[in-house]
């Protein structure tokens, strides 16, 4: 279980997180929604230690993440980045098998390649894609490769940063379905950040809305549409008028 208590983070005078309290239960899929620039990605990066939070506490299974030994801690995570973040200089299979060829999880090259091709198949890509370079792939294929890399070492926790941004609705649906299937199949804990409501409905067990640096509302996805919270209502209905300023 991941717990955030009063997490704050500022960049100069820009106070992005102003005391975030959030619980991500083990085996559940939590989706954090919120407008652009509200600090969703920063929140995710704080949990991973990519960005150091200024105040508050983040724990994973009761242990403060800032005191955890980095390699074993990070080995529990997989992450799909917004733009894929595939390594340009490596072939697709080398990207997917990156973690399997280095560090504590290192194994022989042939075995790592075999696992990579299996994971590529799992996300709907043919084995001949394995030898291509990321620049030769479409945006949707890059997302799938990023997803294959995120699950290659079968992590306990998977983070998805805007998984459907930049994709057409059909490809976005494919990615949403894949994420849901994989999370259920692996029994993983998932945290997704998005402002795509189709993704929210497809992926989430629970939803948390981040606004003005705090969690504005949190609850089961089934209750999202019925909640009287004016912020959530404005966000899910895409209204320009409401408590959330349209010009930020």
């Amino acid at each position: 279980m991941i717990e955030l208590k009063g997490v704050t983070k500022s960049f100069g005078q820009n106070h992005v997180l102003r005391g975030v309290d959030l619980t991500i239960p083990s085996g559940k899929s939590v989706v954090v929604i919120g407008g652009s620039g509200t600090g969703k990605s920063v929140l995710l990066k704080c949990i991973l230690g990519l960005v150091r939070h200024d105040g508050g506490q983040i724990t994973l299974d009761g242990q403060d993440v800032t005191r955890a030994e980095r390699d074993p801690f990070l080995a529990r995570f997989g992450m799909l980045f917004q733009g894929g973040a595939l390594f340009d200089s490596l072939r697709v299979w080398e990207n997917v098998a990156f973690r399997l060829m280095r560090g504590a999880l290192a194994r022989p090259k042939a075995e790592a390649r075999e696992i990579a091709i299996e994971k590529l198949r799992r996300v709907g890509l043919k084995p001949d894609v394995a030898e291509l370079f990321p620049a030769e792939l479409s945006g949707g294929m890059q997302k799938r490769v990023g997803l294959a890399r995120a699950i290659a070492a079968e992590p306990e926790i998977i983070f998805f940063d805007e998984p459907t941004t930049g994709l057409d609705p059909i490809m976005a649906g494919v990615i949403n379905d894949l994420i849901r299937e994989i999370v259920v199949e692996m029994g993983a804990t998932a945290m997704t950040i998005t402002h795509d409501l189709t993704s929210v409905r497809a992926i989430a067990d629970r939803v948390a809305m981040l606004h003005a640096g705090r969690i504005q509302w949190t609850g089961p996805v089934a209750e999202m549409d019925a909640t009287p919270d004016p912020y959530v209502q404005q966000f899910i209905h895409g209204r320009a008028i409401g408590p959330i300023e349209a010009v930020r």
Binding site: K45, L48, G49, L50, R70, D71, L74, A75, F77, G78, M79, F81, Q82, G83, A85, L86, F87, D88, F98, R99, R102, G103, A104, R149
Partner: protein, 258 residues
């Protein structure tokens, strides 16, 4: 008055802070150099990228410089009947100064820019973050192989540049200045001392370190977007070039001051 002092003080403080950040980055890199894991494949790739693929540009620079140097020394020497010193001065000029400095500057233009652009792009496209989440230290995976490859291959490039530059002088000497080929080469070989060449190779290693350090530092600290990567690339080349010239003076003082 206070405003004027502040206007002077601000850039001075900023410059000192930048020097401090580079020093911390270099110290951190050196600390990682001696601790595993070492990425041998990455190192090999960088040896090819930085060393092997820089050879044509260093070679071309050296051969034209050697040729021009021979013409200039001949023209200058003829004013006091010292035309015969062309082989010796070309050799010492290339080995001690022009080989390492021009080689260093050409590699700075080619390699520091390429490293800064590559790492800067990796940073803005979250590839550096991805490395961290895959339990890979970017300093070890990206910086150390480049630093090591540049530091080890630059002396080889300088050595090759020295030889090619001397050959450039020889070509001009025998074809345009009526030198005898055998005596030109004999004078060159007999005149050069070990430290003439050795000092240039040491300079090459230092310049290689500077080139890779500036490329990696500016790439890792690149701001967002195409403009950020462009600015990082420019800063890497400018900083590497200026530092090479400054380091060259300091090393020459250390090696050759009486």
């Amino acid at each position: 008055m206070t405003g004027a002092l502040a206007a002077i003080g601000r850039p001075v403080l900023a410059a000192l802070a930048a020097v401090g950040r580079v020093a911390i980055f270099a110290a951190s890199a050196l600390g990682h150099l001696f601790r595993p894991p070492w990425y041998i494949r990455e190192f090999g790739l960088q040896v090819m990228q930085i060393g092997w693929f820089s050879l044509p540009v260093v070679g071309l620079t050296a051969i034209f410089t050697g040729g021009a140097l021979a013409l200039q020394i001949y023209a200058g020497g003829s004013r006091f009947n010292a035309e015969a010193v062309v082989p010796q001065i070309v050799a010492i000029g290339m080995a001690r100064e022009l080989g390492p400095v021009l080689g260093g500057l050409m590699v700075a233009a080619r390699v520091a820019s390429s490293i800064a652009a590559e790492i800067g792009t990796m940073k803005v496209t979250e590839q550096i973050d991805a490395l961290v989440t895959l339990s890979t230290n970017p300093m070890k995976y990206l910086t150390i192989p480049r630093l090591l490859a540049a530091t080890l291959t630059m002396p080889v490039l300088v050595g090759a540049g020295d030889a090619i530059g001397i050959m450039g002088g020889w070509l001009v000497g025998i074809s345009r200045l009526e030198f005898n080929s055998a005596s030109y080469l004999r004078n060159t070989v007999e005149f050069l001392e070990f430290w003439d060449i050795g000092s240039g190779l040491v300079k090459g290693a230092v310049f290689g370190f500077i080139v890779a350090l500036m490329g990696c530092y500016h790439g890792m600290n690149s701001a967002r977007g195409a403009q950020g990567v462009g600015a990082a690339t420019k800063a890497a080349v400018v900083a590497a070039s200026v530092l090479i010239l400054a380091a060259n003076y300091l090393l020459t003082e250390v090696f050759f001051s009486a």
